[in-house]
Amino acid sequence: MRVSFVLVAAVMIVSISSVAQAQRAPAAAAACNLAKASGVVEQQLMSGQLQRSYRLFVPPMYDGHTAIPLVLDMHGSGGTSAGQARTSGFEDVASREGFAVASLQADGGRWNVPVQDNRPDDVKYVTDVIDQIATLLCIDASRIYATGFSGGARMASLLGCVLNARLAAIAPVSGLRWPAPCGGRPIPVLTFHGLADPQNTYAGHADRGAEWVESVPDALAGWAGHNGCQPSVILEDPEGPLSTMRYAACRDGAEVRMIRIDGLGHTWTRKEVDTTVVMWQFFKSHSLPR
């Protein structure tokens, strides 16, 4: 089942308004000199006339000159940036691998997706965060990635659609969506989903409102179509709790892949598969074309 017409219309509206201001190709790499202490700091900014915040982690190896990748990490509905930082553990991986992490904070704990006109523009917020971080740190504009859990995954899906000129790849966890119609370039997509997820059910919800109807395989197929992959899905299901559903021969190497976990509920797991580690390996194998 595909996404509803209402959602399509809403996304089109936000796409038109946001793409123009947000879809700027990354600027050519230039000499950078932005020293900043490593560690965690709570950043504030104004976005859409609202005071917003986010948690910024700078790795110890940041030298103030070498451009580093940036991962945008978004919490689930009702969550917080600090909670998501603990859940994903991205700051530990970033400390070792040398990238920055911005753990974003939704207004009221819920991302504005599907987009509602009377709520804050979270696409603009994310754009403003990226722009602010670029004034604080030497960020590699070709290696900015977005992930999120549950509601954050739905937001990451939307960003993959409307902000794919600035994002090198997305990896929604337990909440992939296909927010059609979606313009712009093919964008690599990796998602993780527990087959026993009672919240964002693998097969979708038939009785919970339009935004919940879409199944995860349908969302994956939507991205595969956007990325120009061969239409037939490839299922690899070896012994063990993990199986992979993927599409091959995607344009510009923009792979589309789902890691399914048998018996897993609505969780960012680091047990059956280390979601954070595998995701970072996926991220670092992709960058925006320069």
């Binding site: 530990d92 070896p238 280390d274 595998v278």
Partner: protein, 172 residues
């Protein structure tokens, strides 16, 4: 927000333990019955890796000591790990000081800890042949090791082999 160990996974771990125990218990008998002799080796290694998600391709060079070979060099240029399943396969060639070779194939399960920049691995290997005194060699055993990333695509490691090998020279 509960996670649970899936039955498939638990069963697989139990099966692996049983198989490893069975292999270890059977090795001496097997050695006695089929001209196999104990074989132990340990190596210090350096590696280079290339990421092609979800695979990581690794080349390895190392030096160490091995029963029946003495001071031994080793290399692998076809090691492939799957970052999702954490399964790795490789062919290693062991080269004695006199040029005699032993070739093994291994399959391991890996644990990658990016926070620490380390990977540990354990699995089995089989001897698939060789040259000189080890022409036609057979055998197998357990491979255990670890590695540490020193940069984005390189690092150092070590591994040991414990098992049996056909008596050197017996199959020439």
């Amino acid at each position: 927000m509960q996670m649970r160990m899936p039955a498939k996974s638990l069963g697989r771990i139990v099966l692996s333990i049983v198989l490893l125990a069975a292999f270890a218990a059977a090795a001496p008998l097997s050695a006695a019955n089929q001209g196999q002799v104990p074989f132990h080796a340990s190596f210090a290694t350096i590696f280079q890796s290339t990421l092609a998600f979800p695979e990581i391709h690794v080349t390895v060079q190392g030096v160490g000591q091995a029963d029946h070979l003495g001071r031994t060099a080793t290399f692998s240029n076809n090691q492939v790990g799957n970052l999702i399943t954490n399964q790795t396969t490789a062919t290693y060639t062991l080269i004695a000081a006199n040029g005699d070779r032993v070739v093994i194939q291994d399959a391991t399960t890996d644990h990658l800890d990016l926070g620490a920049g380390t990977v540990t691995f354990v699995g089995t290997y089989i001897v698939v042949g060789g040259t000189g005194r080890f022409a036609g060699a057979t055998g197998g055993g357990i491979l255990v090791g670890s590695a540490r990333f020193l940069g984005p695509g390189s690092g150092i490691g070590q591994f040991t082999l414990n098992g049996t090998i056909s008596s050197p020279g017996s199959l020439k």
